[in-house]
Symmetry: C2
Amino acid sequence: MDCKFIEKASGAIADKYRLQILLALSEKGSLNNSDIQQMTGLSQPCVSHHVKTLIDSGLVNSQKEGRNQNLSLNKEGLKDLSGFLDKLT
Amino acid sequence: MDCKFIEKASGAIADKYRLQILLALSEKGSLNNSDIQQMTGLSQPCVSHHVKTLIDSGLVNSQKEGRNQNLSLNKEGLKDLSGFLDKLT
DNA sequence: TCTATATATTTAAAAGTTTGGATGTTTAGG
DNA sequence: CCTAAACATCCAAACTTTTAAATATATAGA
């Protein structure tokens, strides 16, 4: 089991804005950065940073479409983290 | 769903020493602070701080036995976090 | 009560994170 | 090619976390 992944993924969740992004992705299926900027009220660079953190963590996928970046949940990653927690008990 | 709990609990996992403690608790069932000090090589105050973080997060239970503090996994908390992740997908 | 052991608290330094302004890069559309 | 829109990067300030030394508190056992 990859502790580095667990650390990164749980760290990615441990922030109110990133948690808000994950919940919105879960609800809406996909979002781009300006959706997130509107939703959170954060600056564009700050959104870009949080989105990068989520992608790096393995919990979010990004797909370029022209100028836009379409984000979606990485269900594999979420299942891996949840599975790790289940195995602890 | 309690976002504050999700934030705190995932933040508690997002550290290599706390993750090591969780894994050891999973394997051994219970530990006290000096077990953790030996295991991690951290200073006593630092162990005390990490243990407090884990207890505050709701992922670890503590039970006083004389001078010792017996720690164990809070399976409820772990299940709540894992369940939250499952519901995202 | 005295001592040793287990844990907590205080404090401060070092390291890491979050944030937004300024600026850079890429691409769609005229 | 030019412009505007979407996103990334650089930078520095504010804030938070991690760490250990020093010190405090609590309890078991002589």
